[in-house]
Symmetry: C2
């Protein structure tokens, strides 16, 4: 291994054009969502500094941003920790998601143009292809996670409100963390492929009532699954 083939050649220190802080925020977010950092776990600067190779200040900025997203919990003068999980929080996130997502899907169906339809169809197509490849543990496949996120994002993208989309994105991340939490204990994935297909068809055929009903069922049944199979992690807090 030569000198020129240093670490930075293999994995760039940061994405192009972005600040280090934004990059660290992104990496920390993904790790918290995937429960690589456990809920409630203290986030000590020494440890993170070692792991990510950045300074106190940069970390602090990243943790502040994640606190606003509800993934990190700041305790004044006593540092940060991964946001704890609880049954109550799961219920709140689920209800908030239903409230907002239902509104956004209605607006998207009303306003969506050809590009929107294409985005919905193509993101679902990609998602299904990835599912065929490894139908067992989709959440463990980073590509599936991204495709899944993008499909749901595409569905509401035409709603016309950047404000509500930003709120929705934060809630989606918080919900995804709960899915990861229960993923290891869930016996088998539900028939998500079928649900996604049905939602897509309702959206494209401009049937808002049906789409809303399917989306709400999709969100709530996922949350129920989490509440059931991660019960031991939610009650003991």
């Amino acid at each position: 291994m030569t000198e020129t083939m240093s670490e930075s050649a293999i994995r760039p220190r940061k994405e192009f054009g972005k600040t280090v802080a934004a990059d660290i925020t992104h990496r920390l977010r993904e790790e918290i969502i995937a429960c690589g950092l456990a809920p409630g776990e203290p986030l000590r600067f020494d440890v993170l500094r070692e792991r990510f190779g950045v300074s106190f200040t940069t970390l602090r900025e990243a943790l502040t941003a994640l606190t606003a997203e509800g993934l990190v919990d700041a305790q004044e003068q006593r540092g940060f920790r991964v946001a704890p999980v609880s049954r109550q929080d799961l219920v709140e996130v689920t209800d908030a998601r239903v409230l907002i997502e239902v509104e956004l899907i209605r607006r998207a169906i009303e306003r969506g143009d050809d590009d929107w339809e294409i985005a919905v169809i193509s993101t679902l197509h990609r998602l299904k292809r990835i599912e065929q490849r490894d139908p067992e543990h989709p959440l463990r496949d980073p590509e599936w996670k991204i495709a899944h996120r993008q499909f749901h994002q595409a569905l509401v993208s035409a709603c016309g409100s950047a404000t509500l989309l930003a709120i929705r994105a934060d809630l989606f991340d918080r919900a995804e963390r709960y899915r990861h939490l229960s993923a290891n204990f869930r016996p088998r994935p539900r028939d998500k492929a079928g649900e996604h297909q049905a939602i897509m068809q309702a959206a494209i055929s401009r049937n808002p009532d049906l789409a809303v009903q399917l989306i709400e069922a999709h969100i709530r049944s996922t949350a129920d699954n989490v509440a059931t199979y991660a019960a031991h992690l939610l009650d003991t807090e």
Copy 2:
């Protein structure tokens, strides 16, 4: 002026128990809402450092937090600026507020206990007393602002969802900034006292449909007022 009567004796550097960063975040937030820092204005570190007497790092943390709240706009590698205003953004904030506030007032009316009723009644009482004192320009009175905020906060406080309350609070702040924007050009305050009274009564008498209707009208008419009297500030951007 003696040495012991230094600046810190007159105004403490920070509130008790809080970090400097949290304090600066708070002060910057208030100043942006009050349009003491104009929409779109660049937030240069040298200037802010001078004004608030803190370091780069602390400022950066505060600005990051406010970016998440939608009051500051971060431009990668090119610093921060006060979030711009626009007609589109005003519409988005208004619609989002209606969506969420309507839901929360329903839940609060359903779940509110005695303490909730007392909080609603007493915060309104305080608000009315302050209005009597100076009925001309309520927004210029910091006490009125606080009382007004607390009344609306009290109304929904019993909703049972910290998650939605946090989102609501951010949207309220963004809307309040628009109110300040038009305050200087608005001919006369509307009959807010009457509206608040009616909302309070609908809530306390547990009439959710009426309360929802009044709240939505309250929010939308305020926004319409802003759109009318601050039109010259919204279109030229």
